[in-house]
Symmetry: C2
Subunit: 538 residues, 2 copies
């Protein structure tokens, strides 16, 4: 028997209705070249309704992909609202990818319209020359000077358009947004979010036990809006009525810190590199950050030293978030529990520096290579599987059955989980070194090597070995002034007390730099390929 | 095009999985006759799984109604979990109703199994003799002595049963629970909650901008578990991992206050009468309530004086919640906004004493008699309509089309809404007095009359009038020692500065007591009937 409850689709238009009714006076602030631009939610949402009319007028229909090639700013938020609310699909492009990867993604998605920042035009032009699907380009006026030829002006389009009704009856499983993974193991794959997945994910972001966004919050979203749904923050701010601050195309640490101070930000989110870069300016601003309660840090592993430095120098704790494009992205958060009240710093560090616990709506399994469930004992190590309403069930035009197992996403991350549910990632499964039937974590050796004062970067990859199957090979970049005094033996002596004896790399190679992927991660695939025949000392 | 996201039903088993995995060590505490009983979530949920097996073993199948006739305690929570999770329907009976109303409800719902507290057996026996559908009665052992004949013992059933799997694939629109309205305007009506409505309602209860239940909370649920879903607290506590404290059959203010102190409760919820009764003991306990952050008060209008007294004497603010059985029940909450920071007490009182703002997921409309939308200007008065995923779309076996209008629930409450979305209820629509085409609020005249020190109770009803259509008639109960000195003229003089001149009652009748409904509200229907031919002075 079915319940007798109303059935309203969980949709972006539902979030819009709530924001328009309940939070119309809250604000969106964008850093521009000559100051800041502030608009109320009412204004932003009215402009989003104009944008929908404008997009319809240039022929955008249901299911059509509208891409953005933009920094974080008000217009990008307007696209986040308008495109899904008219039944079309928002495709956020990563502005830092190589042209050829972008061209592949745009062609694969068959984007018909692209919204581009004027300052990103030179980068976009190179992509545009490689693709044939884009029939219309809209330019956001984020710098002085006239726009390029054969494009539409964002503001001119909005000025001509009347505010449009959104599709209030849109089915909740309708696709809302498309975001491609960075594809470190192959071609980028498209994750197709639904209205329902976005609403439930954003609700979880607003749960008190999760990020807890609240009407009294002022949120600085430093995570790019093309980065996995901007961690859910755009929709979550509209839901919660939190003021949203964005940096536009500005990345200088002093400017970002200035935004935190001037707007009395309470919650900020960004990748570790950003917070690393801002540490000095944040330390100087310490006394002026009175409202800053929490910083979310994710996208790659958060160095413990960075967390400790922020706690010590800035007086704010970095919370680690873990997830991936396929999980919308929030899959776990390293908030402490009430049981940790009064915990001493070393033990508390162990909590905060974990990948954290899954929030309501995300289910986690730990399995061995045969798919057998492993216990959450803090010691057993296996692959993490994810399940939930905001976890991908497949990729856009790419079934990729190897990534999905009986309704669960295979994350490719290898971890332990402790009895409280805190996840601790050891490595990517493809980066593990399998030596004599046992796993060696490349990440742990890398972390240990990088803790040496003379080492800037380190990457550890597996090399085939006749007896052990695989053995670890370390590639390191020494500091410029340390080249003469470092040697393989010195580093092995340094590692000896830090890792198990049989984890010690069989060889250490000194390089001037490590190859990187288009999103800036160490390109271990390239290293494995380059050193696949490297002779290991017997 | 549909998104490519996993689809897991929003269901009670989903909440159970989360609670078992993430919050197994959190606790449920029940006040018993000789102390308290404490169980972990793991224990409670394991017992709920046993209860499901036991219920199956006595023939309970999908869609079967299992009623509870219980106080707030651990076993009641176990039924909240087990019954919906096995695909059956939990029917919470209001233990304070008259036998004949209960019998009607039980027969209407066709409850086949009832779980009854041993101490409530005498009350239940009278109901049982009037109904024929109940084929099995399970007795919860909440007092010493043996149970009645021909019943099953709850603990014995659980001891024999093995923990059962729940229905993880239950469709989210499946009915989960049934709760009848008190039926002040006619026969009680059944509201049939779905799994989806319960999950979304409980998520909203845990939103930071709503009640914000959190893992660090200790929740005292004084609201009865038969009262509209216990305001969502049982499922919300399991979701959030908040410790739950319940008072069992104990209602003495000192005992309830003792629970707040002993268990360092952070959040408590109950009806105004309860908080009124506890004011003295709470005032005495003031210094020991250090963790108590928020009190939710709802179920009937919260007197401003009570809110002021708690703020002044106890140091805690009462937040008003508004809603109804049909809205699961949370439809609005009177939390202040950031814009109210630093507001002086009189203005802040105006916020806290309103019915508050609808949270995410509840949509509100204000309409006039013709159904035309009225503005949220704080002055326009009309009926409130509600829409949302936890708002009823009909009643169980009773279409009641007059209550539903184009997908919206007609609440029967008349109110204004201010530009910030704060609702201020004036009256029930059926209690309004329509004089010369204008509405007079019976509630406002009653409140004014009851502010007179010699008046204990007052009810104002409409009486037919040849010229004005209707005019207000006041029925008052004076203090025993004031009978001699009160008169109609004295009260009219007292009212004159408090209400509009044309609102003054045409007559005032002195009674020894006012008739009440089974849930203790003034029975205005009875008063209207009794005085329908009362001659009004011309």
């Amino acid at each position: 028997m079915e319940g007798l409850m109303q059935r309203l689709p969980l949709s972006i238009p539902m979030i819009v209705r709530h924001a328009e009714r309940m939070h119309s006076r809250k604000t969106v602030t964008t850093r521009t070249d000559d100051g800041v631009k502030v608009a109320t939610f009412a204004q932003v949402l009215e402009r989003a309704r104009r944008l929908a009319t404008a997009l319809r007028s240039i022929g955008v229909g249901p299911d059509d992909r509208v891409a953005t090639f933009c920094a974080n700013h008000q217009e990008h938020l307007e696209a986040y609202v308008a495109v899904p609310s008219m039944g079309s699909i928002l495709h956020t492009l990563n502005i830092r990818l190589f042209d050829k990867d972008l061209a592949h993604i745009v062609e694969h998605a068959q984007d018909s319209v692209v919204i581009v920042d004027k300052t990103l035009w030179p980068a976009w032009e190179k992509v545009a020359s490689r693709v044939s699907c884009v029939r219309c380009t809209i330019v956001v006026d984020d710098a002085t000077g006239s726009g390029p030829d054969n494009t539409l002006d964002y503001e001119a389009l909005l000025a001509e358009a009347t505010p449009s009704g959104f599709d209030e009856d849109i089915p909740e499983h309708q696709a809302a947004a498309l975001c491609y993974t960075s594809g470190t193991t192959g071609l980028p794959k498209g994750v197709l979010y639904s209205h329902r997945s976005n609403v439930l994910h954003s609700m979880t972001v607003c749960l008190s036990g999760s990020l807890g966004l609240h009407e009294s919050d002022v949120v600085l979203a430093l995570v790019p809006m093309f980065h996995a749904n901007a961690w859910g923050l755009p929709y979550a701010c509209l839901m919660a009525g939190a003021d949203l601050v964005m940096a536009g195309r500005h990345t200088a640490p002093e400017i970002l810190t200035g935004l935190l101070v001037q707007h009395q930000v309470t919650f900020a989110a960004g990748v570790p590199t950003i917070w690393q870069g801002m540490l000095q300016s944040m330390t100087r601003a310490k006394g002026q950050l009175g409202k800053l309660e929490r910083i979310l840090c994710g996208g790659s592993a958060v160095p413990l030293g960075l967390q400790q430095a922020y706690h010590r120098e800035v007086g704010v704790r970095l919370i680690q978030g873990w997830g991936m494009t396929e999980s919308s992205p929030i899959a776990s958060l390293s908030f402490p529990l009430r049981a940790h009240d009064g915990l001493a710093p070393p033990e508390l560090d162990g909590v905060l520096n974990s990948q954290g616990r899954p929030p309501l709506g995300v289910e986690v399994r730990l399995v061995d290579e045969a798919g057998k469930l492993l216990p959450w004992d803090g010691r057993s190590v296996g692959e993490i599987l994810l399940r939930g309403n905001w976890v991908a069930s497949g990729y856009y035009l790419d079934a990729a059955p190897e990534k999905f197992s009986d309704g669960w996403l295979r994350t490719g991350d290898v971890a332990s989980i402790d009895p409280d549910g805190y996840i601790r990632i050891c490595d990517r499964i493809k980066d593990l070194v399998k030596s004599g039937g046992e796993w060696i974590s490349s990440v742990q050796i890398e972390t240990s090597l990088m803790s040496h004062p003379d080492i800037v970067e380190a990457a550890v990859v597996a090399v085939a070995h006749p007896r052990w199957g695989e053995r670890p090979l370390a590639c390191v970049v020494p500091r410029a002034d340390a080249k003469g005094r470092l040697s393989k033996d010195i580093l092995l002596d340094y590692l000896r007390p830090l890792v198990a004896k049989w984890w010690l790399p069989d060889d250490i190679i000194f390089l001037d730099q490590l190859p990187r992927t288009s999103v800036g991660k160490f390109d271990k695939k390239a290293l494995r390929e380059r050193f696949k025949d490297h002779p290991l000392p017997s």
